[in-house]
């Protein structure tokens, strides 16, 4: 991960900062400069709820080289309790227990490593609750 590219996403990845549209209330994650729903350009920074539910998921058996040591692993689309959505890996779970609609909590985990010499790259993952 190229450092500047990694560093600028830290508020979103580490503490789930999102941009709530001051006009229509849509929570955009990650933040945007234009609200896709109402075109407003005024936002306030909010932190997403760290709980939500699984809208859909898959279990990745064949990954890119970056994640190949972790296969099989689950990735899901999560709707947080405040109605925002995001994509996250599901950690520490029996892959057979994952279902659409199940409740999850977002936790802080290492997402990927840049080889043995580069950055450790962190972010959010979901765990079943």
């Amino acid at each position: 991960m190229i450092s500047p590219k990694y560093a600028r996403e830290i508020p979103q990845r580490y503490r789930l900062e999102a941009a709530k549209c001051k006009s229509c209330g849509k929570i955009n994650f990650p933040p945007r400069l234009v609200c896709p729903r109402c075109k407003s350009r005024e936002f306030e920074t909010v932190r997403l709820s760290n709980e939500g539910k699984i809208l859909t998921y898959t279990i990745i058996r064949v990954s890119s080289d970056t994640f190949s040591h972790q296969t099989p692993y689950a990735v899901a689309i999560i709707e947080t309790n405040d109605g925002a959505k995001l994509m996250a890996m599901i950690a520490d779970s029996d892959l057979n227990e994952i279902e659409i609609g199940k409740k999850v909590k977002l936790v802080f985990r290492k997402i990927q490593d840049e080889g043995v010499w580069g950055l450790h790259c962190y972010g959010y993952k979901a765990v079943l609750i």
């Binding site: 898959t58 279990i59 970056t66 990735v75 689309i77 994509m87 990927q112 790259c121």
Partner: protein, 382 residues
């Protein structure tokens, strides 16, 4: 705007072309199209390529290809819209002819995917890098999430997904350019290796090398070259969120329905006026969802439709008579152009054993990423 015709086509075999470079592949397809059309020059060329940079370390594809085709100083433009690069290149060529600024334009697509790079990572650049790919998802994974949502919402079955692959292999068997010319069974699909649950290896289009090219000119000029031009009666395109997770619905590809609405309006047609369709079956679930979003079937009924044979060669709307991406192969940049070639062959009665009787109107749907971009081109036999 002038009426635009396709007057000639050419493509390489799709597959693992170990001895051919991206230049060789492009030039072979382009020369076939030029010869097939019988034109002695072109005024401009468009090349759809998803990622020369990642796959073979070559950008500046327009200049490279114009040079190797021996066409300097003809303007050459590389077009990129991930897996929809070919369909988008066709649309740009269409505009250039329709506007009257060029007479004869080559629309092409090429991809060389087997030179040893991490293909999963390269293809994943078509999704959001920071919020999807960063979190470990792959392209099979994105479509697998659509599949799980569709199965959950509409009770689409695993067997229905498999039926797409079985049908497309049956069609591809009769396509001399196809990568896989073997029939497969439902059982083979269901027993193939899991790639991203619920999608298995035989639900996935392959990694392929290949090139495809077509020649466009105005309808009035077309008569000089051929007695059987094919008219372009609609060319539409739409965009959607780059990230799958930001969509309001996970079971609809909105860029497809948006582009379809525009295309049907341009052509003054309804879905049931379409005789054949080439759709973007990068994964089996994609064909099911797209067949619904194009309006061929009610939402949620695409799985049953393929199972009941409604999309087979003899069905009410034959889909992917070429074998689709699944059997024919999916050199990503070339795919959208190869779809146009299949329509051209069908509408001019040159599709051999795959020929759909009395096919007059064909639709090609090509999409990028998890459906963030989509082009729809509708062609009509003259």
């Amino acid at each position: 705007m002038k009426e635009v015709a396709v007057i000639g086509v050419g493509m390489t075999n799709f597959g693992e072309l170990w001895n051919k470079s991206i230049k060789d592949i492009f030039v072979e397809a382009a020369l076939k199209a030029i010869d097939n059309a019988g034109v002695d020059h072109i005024d401009s060329m468009y090349i759809g390529t998803m990622s020369g940079g990642l796959f073979v370390g070559q950008e500046h594809i327009g200049a490279v290809m114009a040079d190797y085709l021996g066409m300097n100083p003809v303007p050459a433009t590389r077009v990129e819209s991930a897996c929809a690069s070919g369909g988008t290149a066709f649309r740009q060529a269409y505009f250039e002819v329709a506007s009257g600024s060029s007479e004869i334009v080559l629309a092409s697509g090429v991809e060389k995917m087997t030179d040893g790079v991490d293909v999963t990572a390269a293809l994943a650049t078509a999704a959001d890098q920071e919020y999807e790919v960063y979190n470990g998802v792959t392209f099979p994974g994105l479509y697998a999430m659509i599949a799980n949502a569709h199965m959950h919402q509409y009770k689409t079955t695993r067997e229905q997904l498999a039926a797409v692959a079985v049908k497309n292999h049956r069609n591809g068997k009769n396509n001399p350019n196809a990568q896989f010319r073997n029939e497969i069974t439902i059982e083979q699909v269901l027993n193939s290796t899991l790639v991203a649950d619920p999608l298995r290896l035989l639900d996935c289009s392959p990694v392929s090398d290949g090139g495809a090219a077509v020649i466009l000119c105005s309808m009035e000029l077309a008569k000089q070259f051929t007695d059987s031009p094919v008219r372009v009666i609609a060319s539409a395109q739409a965009s959607d969120t780059i990230s799958l997770y930001e969509r309001d619905s996970l079971t609809t590809l909105k860029a497809v329905s948006d582009a379809a609405a525009k295309a049907y309006k341009q052509a003054e047609l309804k879905p049931d006026n379409i005789d054949i369709a080439e759709v973007h079956d990068c994964f089996t679930i994609a064909e099911i969802v797209v067949s619904e979003d194009l309006g061929f079937f009610e939402k949620g009924c695409g799985g049953a439709a393929v199972e009941e044979g409604k999309t087979s060669l003899e069905g009410q709307i034959p889909i992917n008579t070429s074998g689709g991406l699944k059997s024919k192969g999916h050199p990503v940049g070339a795919t959208g152009i190869a779809q146009i070639i299949e329509l051209y062959e069908q509408l001019t009665g040159q599709a051999g054993k795959r020929q759909v009787k009395d096919a007059r109107i064909g639709l090609a749907q090509n999409m990028g990423g998890s459906g963030a971009s989509c082009t729809i081109n509708i062609l009509e036999a003259v």
